[in-house]
Symmetry: C2
Subunit: 281 residues, 2 copies
Amino acid sequence: MKIGIVGLGLMGGSIAKALNHKHEIIAYDISNEALTYALNHQIIQEGYTNLETFFHETNIIYLCLYPQIIASFIKENQRYMQKGTVIIEISGIKTSIIDDTIPFINKDIDVVFTHPIAGREKKGVSFSKETIFHNANYVIVPTKNNKESSIEQTKELAHEMKFKNISIISKEEHDDIIAYTSQLTHILSLALVNSDPKTYDTFRFIGDSYRDLTRIAMINEDLWSELFLENKNYLLPKIDSFIENLTNYRKLIVENDIEQLKEMMKEAKNRRLKIESGGKE
Amino acid sequence: MKIGIVGLGLMGGSIAKALNHKHEIIAYDISNEALTYALNHQIIQEGYTNLETFFHETNIIYLCLYPQIIASFIKENQRYMQKGTVIIEISGIKTSIIDDTIPFINKDIDVVFTHPIAGREKKGVSFSKETIFHNANYVIVPTKNNKESSIEQTKELAHEMKFKNISIISKEEHDDIIAYTSQLTHILSLALVNSDPKTYDTFRFIGDSYRDLTRIAMINEDLWSELFLENKNYLLPKIDSFIENLTNYRKLIVENDIEQLKEMMKEAKNRRLKIESGGKE
């Protein structure tokens, strides 16, 4: 197959690397630099800065754009696409994007909304890496318009990229659980670094725990600020629930309640061990 | 040298492995199982369950016990130690342990209070690993009683274990910065797991960010509940400062203040990048 990538950044580049063993990969980007890099490194076979020409060449496209421009991109450009084109969208948010996009999609194309739960704390095609998808989780959020064949093709490609679990859920379920597993997690990491008292040379007093918890604070703030705001309805209650739990730890420490403290810690440990073992008790 | 280890768990075992290339290692533990394991795996050369005999064999000892029993262990057992014995204590808390221990230490022994900032989310000698110390941070908290030669010997051994930065600071400074870099970090990881809404099969919707932030929630609750309580005076203000920062993120999200949100994120990113580069801008 000839697979198209729109937006050749970290994710687009990683998808290209994960699929270029078996398929021809072509990419559209506004940056000549990204295209040249990808061509020089044999990540893609062809690069385009002209959308119309690009759409002529492919009818299956990964859309790797920032959340807030996805709806308008599809609205403005779908008329140039080939009849029967399948667009696979990959952002970390679903409800607002689906609600904004669905009313405009013409019946000649099929947009599959997905979320590969993978990434790196870097941006740009030069940091792309196909292994970020290995054994990772993938989510597909079908709409009533999706053809069964488009969903199947999306799944097949996810298997080729070596994703492990592929889940089919609703947009609301996606945004609810991802607000917890992903967005809350990033905010905690950020707030931990922002809390640095700066009284000491922090780097001389950290261990792997601090390093691990703060790695994702080296964030792409343009992307993640959009994700936080777009998903605020689900994210705010997750922040509140976290503060409630943290305040509970605080209270038990104030009261020297070591038994209850250990209970909460054991509950967390057992739950995390269950996750480690892939959901098995 | 013949180096003694009191308490052959994860840390004692890791110290033994890190030093047994150059030195003879002997260990005391109440558990025959731990000693047998370590003997069978050539981690130590001799194992003892009798303290008096053990103290006869060595005059430099790593004390690898839980925080709350360190003072009483020294108080009760120092009379059996050889004159001139150097005890290197390694727990993650300093003020309370030093204050509890100093009044009782007899002048024939020298106790050096240190903190190797390294560990694993497992317990027991079978999980010990010398590489946890490679490029890690080490802290020495000298007391007015310490002989210069004891401090030098402790440093020399830390270098042999391949620690990177060795810092000499006061007990208050240690507990203040460690409350932030280590104890707060562990509580955040725990509270994140405790906040799991449990509505979905969480493991199907996590990425590396959630995995990294929650790894240390697989905690040794006996050890860490002691560390939290012993260091509460420094830890509670760190929790409060974190909640303040998190609440600030919450407010900016509620107000859709994307510019200020990005500012806070950039501040965190730049600070974390500075830590990544070992303190250099």
